[in-house]
Symmetry: D2
Subunit: 325 residues, 4 copies
C-alpha cells in the first residue's frame, strides 16, 4: 500500500504497528443492527492502536515524525460547551475513530492531533495499543474512591479484568468479581481478583454479603451490561457507597431505585476516558509497572490472521486480542 | 394530659407547639400496606415539629429547659460504620420517630438528645416545624452544584416546591418545574419557578429543550416517584449533568441507563438530611431570610381539627399543612 | 485607523466597543518594576472588553461576523499537560492578552478563537466588558461551598465587591467585608455586604467573632494581597473552613500555618477563571439578573478621556472604570 | 497494680498490651515549653496503644470484655458544630488522651467508648498500637488524589515513612522523599521511596524537577515542620497540584503565596484522623497486607526499658518505637 498523500493541516499520518480488537469492532464485523444503522460503508474500522508518526500536518505541534503514539477514540469538536469545560470526552459533536471516519485497521492511518497520545518509548508497543480500553477501566475505577475499600466488579470481559488490576493498584480490597463464564472468571483470578462469584451457579448476593461481613461492598463497577448484575450491585452496595456504570444494555433496565435512594448511593455513568486526565493516570500506572497488560493480552496475532482474532472474541475465550501489523 | 414521668437519661421531654403533616403520616392515617407492615400499634405518629424543652435527662447537655427545639426524624445508633463515618442519616440500625417509636402528634413528646436541633429564638414557631422536610429539599438541591445552572424539578409536592426556593436561593436558573396537578404547578410558580411544564397536556421534553436552547438541563431533582418523570429527567439532562433522586417509587423503575452512561451523568440517591450539615445550612437560609416558608405553608390548623389537614393532603390541594397544638 | 489586514487563520478581528481598566493595566500605565521587566514595547495594553466581530480567520468556527463577543485574557497553548486536562487557565505556556501580545485598548483588536466568548445579545455592552474580572470573583467564590455559610471577604477592590454580590447570589450569609478604605467599604455596603469591618480603626477579629457567635467564618475570600488581612482570615476561619486566595502579595507572607493545620482548613490558590466553566456560570448569573454590574461600574468614560479613568483608579475612589470606544 | 475501680458509664477499662511513643510524648518527656503550659501534673502520658477490654461501663455497646482494641487520641464532645457535622476530629471542645487526661503508659487505662476502635483479631498486637500515627499518614495521603501521581514527601520521620508505604499502596509514583538525616533517608528507601533528596547536600529543587521531567510533582506531603521544606514543596508542585500539610512549625512560616496562587494549587491542613473514615481505611490496608508496619517499627522494647525508647527517639535513629507492657 502506498503512503496516502492527502493530510489535513491538523492531522498526522501514522504507520500502524499494533491494533487491538474492541467489542465495537466485533459488532461491526458481525454487522449487527447498530452497525448497519451507524456505519457508512466503505470504511476502515478499528481505533485501538500504537504506531509511528511518519508525516505531520502543518499546524501540528504535539508530535514529530518518528514519535511513537496511540490515540483517544473520541474526536472532539473543541468548540462546544462540553469541550470548552474540560469534558471533551462527551463532546456534543463527537466523531468516533473507526466508526464515523476511517479507523486504524490498516497499514497507515490519518489521525487528528487533538486525540494523539505520545507514548513513553519504553512502553512495549503491543501494550500501547491496549491503553484505550485500559483507560475505560481506569476512568471507571477512579470515578469514586476505592482505596481501602471493597469492590464488586460485575462482568469480567477484558475491561472488567483490567479493572481488577487497576483497583488493586489503587489500594482496593477485597476485590470480588461476578461473572458467569469460566474462562473469564479464571482470567479475573489470574489478574488478582480476591473472590469470584458465579451468579449462574451460586447465590451471589449471599456470598458477597458473607465476604463483606454482611456490610455490603463499598463500590460496584458495573461492566456487564446485564440487568441482573446491575440489580445485584444495587442490592450489594453498602449505604453511602457508589456504583460506576460502564456497561451498556440492550434495552431499558428495570431497577430497584428505592434501594439506591434509601442507601444514599451515588451512581456514575462512565463513558470513554477523561481527556486526557485518564491517559496521564494510566500512563503513570503502566510506566511505574503497577499494571501488567500481558496478563490481559491473551493473543497477539499477525494482522493477516485477523479473522482468527474476531473468532476468539465471538467465543469469549480470550482476554485482549492484539493484531500485529 | 399529665406530663409523662418516665424519661431516659439521654432524652428530653418537649411540649409540642406545632406539628406538620408529612406524606408518611398520611400513609399511616390511610393505614396502607406499608403502614400495616411497619407500624406496631398503639403508637403516636408525627415527626415534624417545634416545641419547648420542659425536662432533660441527666446526660443531656445540648439543650436546657426552656429551649425552643425541633428534631431530626432519623434516630441513629451512633455506633455503626455509618454513624462513625459522618453518615448518621443512613445509620444501619435506624429508628424513625413516629414510625418505630412514639412521635410528636401529642401534647408532650420524648426525643433523644442525639437528634435535637436548637432553633434560633427569632424563627417563627410554625416555620420551625417545617424544617425537617425543608432539609430534604436542601439536601437534594445541594447534592450537586446548581449555582448558575438550569434545574428541572420533577414533582411539585411540598418538598419539590421548597426545592424551587432553595435552588433559587443558591443561584440556580432557570428553574423548570414539571408536574401534572394544577394546584401544585400554581404553587411552584408562586414560589419562584421560572417555567412550568405539564407532561399530561404538553410535550414536556420539547419544551424543556426549547427553554434550555436545546442543551438540556444541568441538574434534575426527581421528587415525583414517577417512572415517566424519571425518564423525562434522564432524557433532558445535559451530558455531564446530574440527577438527584428523592422520590420513592411504587415498584421497580424501567430506565434508559445507556442514556445516563453515554452522557456521563451522576445520579445521587437522597434520603433524609445530612446530620447535621443540612440543618446548619437550612437554618442559615431561614435565618438570613433567603427562604420564606410562608409561601409553602398553605394551612395552619388547630390540632383538634387535624382530620381536616389530612383530608386536604389526600386531595393534594395544599402545600404544607401545620397543626397548632 | 484602518482595519488591520493581517489576521491569522485562528484569529478574529474585533471592533472594540467597551474596554474596562484592570489593576494590571494600571501597573503598566505606572510603568512599575513588574511592567518594565515583563512588557516589550511598543505594545497595546488592555484585556477586558466587549466588541463586534468584523472578520474571522479561515479556521474559526466559534463565531461569525457580527457576533457580540468578549474574551478570556489567558491564551492557552492547547497542547500542554494543563491544557489537555481541563486546566487551560494554568497553561504552562500561557500568553496574556495586553501583556505578552497586543491587547484591546484600540479601535480594533485581533484575538484568537480559543479565548473568545460569545455574549448574549441582550447583555448591555458596557457590562459585557467587565465579565473577565467578574469571572475572578465567581471562580474565587465557587472554589468552595458558600451556600448557607458565613463569608469574610478581605479587600473590597472591584473584584472583592463583585464577590459580595456573587456570594450573596449563591446563598451565602452573613457576608462580612474587611477593608481599610472608606470608599470601598461604602461600595461593599451598596453591593450587599451584611457587615463591614475596618481593621485600621477597630479590632477586626473580635468583631468577626461576635458576628459569627464566636464560631468564626466558614469561608474567607482573600482579595487584598495584604499579609495582615491574610492572617486575619487564618485566625477567623472556622475549623474545617476554607480560604480562597486571589490576592497577590508584594513579597513572601509570614503565616501562622499551624493554625491552618490544627483547624484542618483548605486553602485554594485562585488564578484567572476556569475556562470556560466560570464563564458559563457568570453568564448565567448575569443573564438571570442575579448580579447587577451597574452597582460596581462607577464610571463609564469616553475613550479619549482614558487618563481620567487611570487617575481615578490610582486614587482608589472608584469601582470598575469602563472606557467607551 | 490493682485494677482501678472507678469507671464512668461511657468508659471501658483496658489492659494495655503495647504502647508506642509519639513525638508528643517525647515533648512531654523533655518537658518543653509547650508541655509545661499544657500538661497538668501528675498525669499519665501516651495515647498510641493496643490492649484488651477488661471492664465496660454500663452504657457501652461498641465493645465487650475480651475485645482487642486501640483508640483514637482525639476525644470529641459529640455535641459541638464540628462533632455534629462529621468532623469529630476537629471538635471545638477536644480533649487529648495522654495530654488533657491520663493516657495509656500504664498497665490499665480508662478510655471513653466514643474513641474506641475494635481491632481485627488477626492483626499483630504490636502493629495495632501504631495505627494511630498510621492514620495521620493515611489521612494526609488521601486528602488529595495520588493515584498515578508523582508525590514529594518532605520529612521522613515515622509518619513520613509510613506515608511512603501508603502512597505506594494507593498507586502513587514516583515517590520522592526529601530529608536531611541519613537514617531516615535510608528508612524511607527501605519502605519504598523511589527517589531520595537531601537538601543539605544537593540542589533538591533541580533534582525533583529532573525526576519529574521538569513538570514538578503532582502532590506534596509536608511532614517536616520546616520552612525551607515547605517552600521547596511550594516551588516544586505542579500547577493544579496540591500540598497536604501535617507538619507543625515552631513559628510563623514565610511563604511565597503568589506561587501557590499563580499555580492554582490547593493546600490542605491536616490534623489527626477523620473519625472514623481514616480508621476504616487504614484497617483495610493493614488487613489486606498492603502496608507492612514491621518495616517502620524499628524497636520493640520491654516497658521497663522505656527510657531507652525515648533516648532513641531523641537521637532520631529509629522509626517507630513500641513498648511491650
Amino acid at each position: 500500500m502506498d503512503i496516502p498523500e492527502e493530510l489535513r493541516e491538523d492531522e498526522v499520518l501514522i504507520k500502524v504497528k499494533y491494533a487491538s480488537i474492541c467489542g465495537t469492532d466485533l459488532h461491526i464485523y458481525q454487522w449487527n443492527e447498530w452497525a448497519q444503522n451507524r456505519i457508512k460503508t466503505p470504511q476502515i474500522g478499528g481505533h485501538e492502536f500504537s504506531g509511528e508518526v511518519i508525516k505531520v500536518g502543518k499546524n501540528v505541534k504535539l508530535v514529530e515524525v518518528g514519535d511513537f503514539v496511540s490515540a483517544e477514540t473520541h474526536i472532539p469538536c473543541t468548540r462546544c460547551k462540553m469541550c470548552r469545560t474540560g469534558n471533551m470526552h462527551i463532546c456534543l459533536n463527537m466523531e468516533i475513530l473507526g466508526v464515523d471516519r476511517d479507523g486504524i485497521f490498516a497499514e497507515y492511518a490519518r489521525v487528528p492531533e487533538v486525540v494523539l497520545w505520545k507514548n513513553d518509548p519504553s512502553l512495549p508497543q503491543h501494550m500501547a495499543s491496549v491503553q484505550e480500553p485500559l483507560g475505560n477501566a481506569v476512568y471507571t475505577v477512579t470515578s469514586g474512591d476505592v482505596s481501602g475499600k471493597s469492590v464488586l466488579i460485575t462482568g469480567a470481559g477484558p475491561i472488567g479484568v483490567m479493572a481488577v488490576q487497576v483497583a488493586k493498584a489503587l489500594g482496593a480490597g477485597p476485590i470480588i468479581v461476578s461473572e458467569v463464564k469460566d474462562f473469564r472468571l479464571d482470567l479475573a483470578k489470574k489478574n488478582g481478583a480476591d473472590y469470584l462469584v458465579n451468579p449462574a451457579v451460586e447465590d451471589a448476593y449471599s456470598k458477597i454479603m458473607d465476604i463483606t461481613q454482611h456490610e455490603g461492598v463499598d463500590a460496584v463497577l458495573e461492566m456487564s451490561g446485564n440487568e441482573s448484575a446491575f440489580n445485584l450491585g444495587m442490592k450489594s452496595v453498602i449505604p453511602g457507597g457508589h456504583i460506576s456504570i460502564l456497561g451498556l444494555f440492550d434495552k431499558n433496565v428495570s431497577l430497584d431505585i428505592n434501594a439506591g435512594v434509601f442507601k444514599n448511593i451515588t451512581m456514575y455513568g462512565i463513558t470513554g476516558r477523561k481527556m486526557f486526565e485518564t491517559w496521564y493516570k494510566l500512563s503513570s500506572l503502566l510506566n511505574t509497572k503497577k499494571i501488567d497488560l500481558d496478563k490481559i493480552i491473551t493473543d497477539v496475532i499477525p494482522f493477516e490472521n485477523w479473522q482468527e482474532g474476531f473468532d476468539k472474541m465471538e467465543e469469549g475465550k480470550c482476554g485482549k486480542v492484539v493484531l500485529e501489523i
